[in-house]
Symmetry: C2
Subunit: 341 residues, 2 copies
Amino acid sequence: MSDREQNSSKRTTIYDLAKLANTSPTAVSSILNGTWKKRRISKRLAEEVTRLAEEQGYSTNIQASLLRRARSNIVGMIVPKYDNRYFGDMAERFEAMARERGLFPVVTCTQRNPDLEMEAAKELLSFQAETLIATGATDPDRITALCKAAGVTSINLDLPGSAAPSIISDNYAAARALTEMILDRCAADLGWTGPLHFVGGRMSDHNTLERLRGFRDAQTARGITPVEQNVLARGYSADQSEAALEQLRVTGPMGLFVNSTISLEGVMRWITTHRDEAEHPIRFGTFDWDPFGAFLPGNVGMARQDVGGMLAHLFALIENGGEVTAPILVPCSLESIAAAR
Amino acid sequence: MSDREQNSSKRTTIYDLAKLANTSPTAVSSILNGTWKKRRISKRLAEEVTRLAEEQGYSTNIQASLLRRARSNIVGMIVPKYDNRYFGDMAERFEAMARERGLFPVVTCTQRNPDLEMEAAKELLSFQAETLIATGATDPDRITALCKAAGVTSINLDLPGSAAPSIISDNYAAARALTEMILDRCAADLGWTGPLHFVGGRMSDHNTLERLRGFRDAQTARGITPVEQNVLARGYSADQSEAALEQLRVTGPMGLFVNSTISLEGVMRWITTHRDEAEHPIRFGTFDWDPFGAFLPGNVGMARQDVGGMLAHLFALIENGGEVTAPILVPCSLESIAAAR
DNA sequence: CTGAAAGCGCTTACAG
DNA sequence: CTGAAAGCGCTTACAG
């Protein structure tokens, strides 16, 4: 019994296949990667080798192949989470779109942990990624510096990052439109005119600052004076948002801008346990989309980032080698949720 | 200006580093991978090389390294989607747990597309994965066969698959408990006693069949005769579930077992557009958990799969080389949702 | 046309 | 102890 039948420590190589088919490794290689037609290899031999490869469970050792080739076609992506509709959708479509373009996607998830982010970035460079996409990273510029030192293109997705080209949602415009929608529904449903509250996100975060700017401007434009103490941007987690809301003592109607579906969980817990719709009605709008958002009582609308549009820009950027000057702004769409019947 | 300053086509190697530090590639290699202590290399040299590596943006070419080493430590995983709370959570925690164990996770997403599944499996074998995990695959046995031919261990996660060891949720027990919970709440809230409806999933699917068995047995045990026409398992998509429900003409109270949060979207759309709570009240329970599930009117409980527990079994299996006879059953938990106040 | 041989960037057994 | 050299499994320029 041969070694490889006995234990799996050794996989089949082109040399094994060449021996079995009584031909050269060169011929096997060219048959297996499709370049054999310009080599005048007989169709019979090509079929025989292909059959043998299948029978022996052969698969190209990609390490050896990549080591030899000039380009890897690997494009790496760092996302903070998969378990989140926005980033999950992003990662999923990124993989599909990369494959469509003959690129090789390698995605890894870093849980918003700065150390893990750097480790993952180094890992992807080790994998010979030709481009590295960072989205939702805590410190994009550090990743960019690492890539620059290695001579690798890096691109920021939905992150402003000063050092690398970036593609970001038009947070300001969408936040402004969402704020208007909340104000409209507060007026229509509750006969109440603000000022609104804002919950979720971080003041150190570019996206949060842009959304706050839209939140304030929309109110100011309607003659409402935004109240600074109404802004509760103490983190993205559901618990932090819930805790921040619990400290409020708002009686009567309330209008709320929820900055992320992560915070929305905390908001819903707070509403369910602390608010009574009859006495203290609330209307809110959410930045970011969730399929169940439309069925949550009180939710009047969701700003949805254009993941497909952002990725289209991303791959256009990759194709031209990451050359760009100003950040690319991608508009969001706004989904309005009808009042309950 | 040197080549690598001018363009990035060539990355720094240990040979470049050796030249710069005036030492041998062997020494650089041992310094960089930590085996230098048994080589009596001076601390001064070690620090100098480390500094140079950083300065030059060096990163180990993992392809070359893996090609030379005996083991890859790569463990591949195929998931159908990232944009789903269950699979997203699974993928995220799989990566974290693999890293904790010094393994190298490579996850890829195949959109429930059988061809993509096979392609991805081959890709992971090419990457020299030592173990391949399939979850939510449409054809696990084909993947197992591929792995077996290549001498690679494969494991099915939440899939029964006859050819490889599998770890599956105890769908029967959880479905039975969930059904009881729905019956209880129909009785308490609506004074109504069934029989219940079932929506979502596929009859060709092992998990769906097990859940249906629990669904039927729970009713039978209470003296309710399950109605076969009440079972609407025509696929997982939200649209299919919504369409199936639209064909129903149920008046009065209704109790519903929702098989997956994916179907739940369709259920919610149908309830919102076609049911009036006052005239046609509905109570439902959901198999699989979503953070917003608790806030959906009418949802009385969710069966939540124990992702952490399944993964713990998975890594135990990996460590003992995938040796196991019977499928490992992992219990689910049941989250009850209080009635709205 | 076709296959032997060089070489990708590492690691490690081994000669000195 | 220490570094030159072999070799991992491929691809491809090149000699015959």
